[in-house]
Amino acid sequence: MGRERLERYSLVGPDSRAAVDAGLASADWYRSAVPRKRMKELMRRSDGPAVRDTTLWLGLMVVLAGVGTLFWGSWWCVPFFAAYGVLYGSASDSRWHECGHGTAFRTRWMDEVVYQIASFMVMRDPTASRWSHTRHHTDTLVLGRDPEIQAMRPARLAKLLANFVGLVDVPVAMRLMVLHVVGRLSAEEADYVPETERPKVFRTARIWFAIYAVVIASAIVSGSWLPVVLVGGPALYGRYMLYVYGLTQHSGLGENVLDHRLNTRTVRMNVINRFLYSNMNYHVEHHMFPMVPYHRLPELHEEIKGDLAPAYPSIWAAYRELVPAVLRQLKDQSYYVRRELAPGATPFHEPSAVNDGRALPLIPA
């Protein structure tokens, strides 16, 4: 069902060229008006919040892994590794994201160190994924251009559900790592990773491959799963929160639009979830103004909320909308959730019929 439409998401298919020809690639996107002086305040960098949050993140992991290891062999280790796994397999995603943007810290090398650590944990090559995410920001939910669309139309439900425990992401990451070890890229990566950047991809893959070889050898020699539970394994058993959070970002919303208010959600979350997710629940704000550090996003939200659709009050509220939408899109791929903006907000930026959130075919059948 919908196989032909799924092919439209390919970065190396005919829709990729059609999107460029239709002016959907590298287009001008809507941004809410924020006075320059205020925006400069919000963009300003500092090390303090990210040093605090990174220390807490890594410190908790060390403590939880230590206690879990002490209890290894008994059921008492399970809650400690369950928490450790979420910090490793899920919280690493938003650290990868923030440090990839270079906004988490003021000090560049701190950003880079945390980016490398988080990339390893979340199993994304730091170079290739930086370029992938760059494209995601340029062409958010543009068919044939955005490499990071999670819930397509129709959604590949089995893949989405399996990925709550990394059953697709992790094998794909391993396959790509081996491909990179031998000095090759996938066809899609070759579309967005420049030639000059590719040696970095291959070097990282060889280092990671060596690390995983040591982990597996340790497990075999010791006759214990513990090394795998500590390194690599959490990308499977601790990955579910990455998807719980990540699916709220864009699922069920408009495609081929040029206004993030049509394809992105802002969801209110409690302090624990915001720590684990580095405030990425303020996702409309992040896409409009990626220069604003994660710790200033709540202030940015207050600044522009009058120009947005109301924020979802909870993760639950977001899922109450997105699950039925994604299920309806299994049968009707022109359906998408179109929200009402706040009274007085600037109307949606829809410069042409091509920017219809239904993403009707660009290429005549």
Binding site: H101, G102, E197, P290, M291
Partner: protein, 104 residues
Amino acid sequence: MPQWIPACATDDVDPEDVIPFDHAGESYAVYRSPDDVYYATAGHCSHERELLCDGLVMGGVIECPKHNGRFDYTSGKAMGAPVLVDLRTYPTKVEDGTVYIEVS
């Protein structure tokens, strides 16, 4: 032939900030460093056609507002992914409270 064009008054740019300047169909970015030296570069990021005047100036660095690519605006040097191509820079001078840039 190169010519000096008045771009803005010195007070038009805050210290450690950038403003746009358009001339003859071209866009430029005019910077004022924290120590009150003026610089000028091409107005758009070399990665994608994004105006740098909406970006963040930190010391001698301008960060593009779209993908956070960073340039040394004093030399135009691209400082790493996703910007790989240097920015074009233009000579500047200040006379009687006006910033001039030399364009060809």
